[in-house]
């Protein structure tokens, strides 16, 4: 169990570094989502099921959805902006 936890922790750190270094925002949000899921597993191993549930629902679920919607919105704004420029 201890070894499993350490593997997860290492993975967590790798996820964090890559989430902050990846250039593409969408990819880095996805990496961040997996970070949250790993975090929730670790919390389950640390005997805190309340936190695991909350993190899975809030951190990995709703936060990620908000990130995705934001990226989509930005994309739409970008296209809209180009559209306007084309009109001119």
């Amino acid at each position: 169990m201890e070894a499993f936890k350490i593997v997860l922790l290492v993975f967590l750190i790798l996820c964090a570094i890559s989430a902050s270094l990846i250039k593409n925002p969408l990819l880095s949000v996805i990496v961040f989502m997996s970070y949250s899921l790993i975090m929730s597993i670790i919390w389950f191993l640390l005997e805190s099921p309340d936190l695991a549930i909350t993190e899975a629902a809030v951190g990995a679920g709703v936060s990620s959805i908000l990130f995705f919607v934001t990226l989509r919105k930005l994309k739409a704004l970008q296209e809209g902006g180009q559209h306007e420029q084309d009109k001119r």
Partner: protein, 318 residues
Amino acid sequence: MSRIRDNYEDSLWNRLTKWVNGESDPFAGKMEMEPLREADYVGDSVYNPERLDKKKVLKYLEDTEKNQEIRAFRVLYNLSSVALCLLLIAVLLMAVSYLPVLGDPNGPNNNEVSARYVEKGMEESGAVNMVTNMILSYRGFDTFGETCVLFIAATCVIILLRKSEEEIENAKETDWKYEPKPDAILQKITLILVPVIFLYGFYIILNGHLSPGGGFSGGATVGAGLILYVTTFGFHKTQRFFNEKTYDMVKVGALSLYSVTMIYYFYTGANLIENHIPLGTPGDILSSGMILPINIFVGLEVACTMYAFFALFRRGGM
């Protein structure tokens, strides 16, 4: 015998009278001051701070985009950021290496505080889940504050992103992305999934005092179900049962009931008055006094707020 001073123009008194009469400007040419111009008073009310420096500033701004030095500076900046990161980590590791050992039953935080929560929590507030018990009754004020954080964040998002009905109508023509295309498979699966998600969410909320979870996680789950529904069927269908009015009503209702409960609890608790909240048998669904209703209020508020975030981000209204 009066002598006419030949330098009368420059004398202090003359300058003072001139200044008092408003004929000269004592600041002209000094510090921030430009000489006063008629144009500054007439008509043009455009904010125009630095008339003279405008060209300079524009040139400077152009430069920042393709200057070698600035590039070098940015490389340096990245390097220093890594250095800062490592320094911070080193300091913290230093501290952590002296902290008490993890998992030690005799560690400093396994003291009389947590002991009482574990030992007496069930009989004092009737909930089986100690974490829910602790955040809602022992440290109820914190949790009340936390709900207010969510409330105020929702308010700020509304301030930033809510559009009026007209704007939404106008945007519709150009932005086809608001409404999903009808997709039979997606809709069928959603119709099966959404009730399950709702059921699970409500289960988490209602069993907050018995099993892991509670208002926040359950509310987020219900909110996720609503979000799934709206992404599949579009805002038009969702508005039939959930629109801005409903959102306001649910939010205000849940939060005000929550605050009434909390005021009653604070007042009776601090003044040592018996609060007459029946605790029930620990382990039953209808037990644990005020924890169950608070979980429901919080769950409703969180579910609505999560959905509201989504709707505001996506469309600018509900």
